[in-house]
Every structure is written in structure tokens, then in C-alpha cells.
Amino acid sequence: MNSNSASDSAVGNASFALDPRRARAIVTAIAQRLIAATDELTQLDQAIGDGDHGLNMKRGFAAVLAEMDSLAATTTPALFTGVGRTLVMKVGGASGPLYGTLFMQLGKSWPPELSRAALHNCLHDAVAAVAARGKSQTGQKTMLDVLVPVVTALGTGADRGQLRALAGMCAEATVPMEAVRGRASFLKERSIGHMDPGARSSQLLIEAVCDDLEQNA
């Protein structure tokens, strides 16, 4: 166990073992946040994609909420795996396999004991799986431009407020980038000047987690 409880308390120490009830609350908060942002994500995606990101995320996370009772009836890693599988099956766009892979890998890599280091390793695995699925990396105007730096910052001791602020900055930083992956890459330099919708949805996901942890600290 990591004995550094001062920094651990920010995101996960022994007292914050993520039991299935808490995991359910966090996933529910993520789902509600993303569903509430349907129109905004759609507008972002209409600018540089095919305009379906908002509705796809809404469909996927509505299915997660609908299945929550059965998804949450098990262990925390099984809950994450189930959420991932539901997203894969229900989203209908590339974001289904991408966010689905994130959650399925969380389920696969979830540590038996939660410390900052263990959580960092697990999230690192999950984000690496997303990168492999999308054959992408940072700097390509994708969700990775938010997820990768946030996970790195988590590993180096950032607290909830810092993680939330970083996620916002990183999503903002996709505006001047040129897309080289996904539908936006068809636009080449015309993709510059718009925030990546996947980066924004990843920012919202991180905000929802940070807010929930704060409210239940």
C-alpha cells in the first residue's frame, strides 16, 4: 500500500475502496453528465465529424443506466467490464469501441487494493488500450489528448481540482490541432479551430468523476 495518505486522499486511499455501490454512483454520474451534454457534443461533432457523437454517447450511456441494476450486482471490476460491453454494443459509432475499451480494460486491470499508484497503473492500461483500439496517440486531436495527460498527472500526485482543471485545458488545447485520425481527419487543416468532440466528452467524464469524489469525500 502507498503510505502517503496526504496525496492519496485526493483520489484513492484505503478508506476510498471503490465498492460496487460507489462505482455505480460514479458511473451514474458520468452517464448523467454525458447525456446532459448531448446537444453540445453533437454541435462539436457537426463542425468536424459526422454529428453523431452526442446522440451516440447518449444512446450508450442511457443503455448503461437502464442496465445498471444488473451491472452493479457484482464486483467493481465486473461492473466496469459490463459498462464497457454495453457501450461497445449500444453506441453505434467509433466512440463505442473506444469508450467501451476504456471501461473493459479498467475492469481487467482493476487492482485488488486501491492506492494512487495502483489506480494510476490501471488507468494507464485502460488509456493505452484506447490508444491501441484507435491506432492513435496524443497530438492527433482525439480523446487521448485529455486522457493521457490526466492519467500522467494522477500518477505524479495531482489532486482532484488539478485534474479537473487539466482536463479542461487539454480539451481546449485540441482546438488548434489538426486531426489525423477519425472522421475529422478528412477535413485536414479545416479541422483546426474546433474542439475535438471526443476530447470534450473525455473532459466531461473526468469532471463527473472528480465532482462525485469531492461530494462524497
Binding site: D52, V88, G92, G96, P97, G134
Partner: protein
């Protein structure tokens, strides 16, 4: 059936069905063929669940070649392949080829009894034509 099966995946059910119609006209019922398009609600998009069903429908012990239109169709097809049992996943490939022309070329090759790698290569040769 020992010929390679063909699966056509498009964001649009109309495009997928239209491509399948063209394949049928070329090769009749000489190969296992399935098409799928549309997200789980029936709008434009693709669905892992439907792609898995299409692979099942077009299954052949010689393998299945998938033709996709773009973006999420490819990602969702890759995801579907990973969700297959391992012994089946090894026998399914995605062709990097235009969906309509690729489907017709792949189907013609499959109809002649070629193996999966040859079917894929023939479809992908379209990328090198000018």
C-alpha cells in the same frame, strides 16, 4: 459452404444492401454473404451487435472477409472480431478497400474458391489502381 464468406458493413443500411445486391448479381448464391448498416437505433452508423450477427450469417470455415465504408465501421468491425471466440477471430479479416468495389472483387475471388488471404489481397489491389 467452403467458399470464403463476405460481410458488407456501411453506416447506411441502404448502401450496405445495395452493395450486397451488386455482389449477388455478380456471383449469385455461390458465397455466404451478409450485410449490415445502421446504428442500434436504425439511424446512420454501425453496430457491433449487428456486425457479429452478420459474421455469423456469412460464416464459412474458409473464413470471412469484411468490407467497411469508414471510421466507426472499421473500429466496430475490429471490436466485433475481438469478441468472437478465438478460433473464429483468426478467420475473419477486414479488407482495406472501397466498400462497393471491394465487395464485388472479394466476392468474385471467393466464388472461385480462393483462400481468405487471396480474397483480401484481391480486394485491396483496388487501392493500387489508378
Amino acid at each position: 459452404m467452403s467458399n470464403v464468406g463476405i460481410v458488407i458493413v456501411s453506416h447506411s443500411p441502404d448502401v450496405a444492401k445495395g452493395a450486397a445486391d451488386m455482389v449477388r448479381q455478380m456471383v449469385g448464391h455461390g458465397i455466404p454473404l451478409a450485410w449490415t448498416g445502421g446504428n442500434p437505433d436504425g439511424g446512420l452508423g454501425t453496430s457491433v451487435e449487428k456486425i457479429l450477427a452478420a459474421i455469423e450469417h456469412a460464416w464459412s470455415d474458409a473464413g470471412v472477409a469484411i468490407l467497411v465504408d469508414m471510421g466507426g465501421a472499421e473500429t466496430n468491425s475490429e471490436m466485433a472480431i475481438e469478441m468472437l471466440p478465438a478460433e473464429r477471430a483468426d478467420k475473419v479479416v477486414i479488407c482495406n478497400a472501397p466498400v462497393v468495389e471491394g465487395a464485388v472483387m472479394a466476392a468474385t475471388e471467393a466464388w472461385g474458391g480462393s483462400d481468405l488471404a487471396t480474397v483480401k489481397r484481391t480486394a485491396e489491389e483496388l487501392n493500387h489502381m489508378t
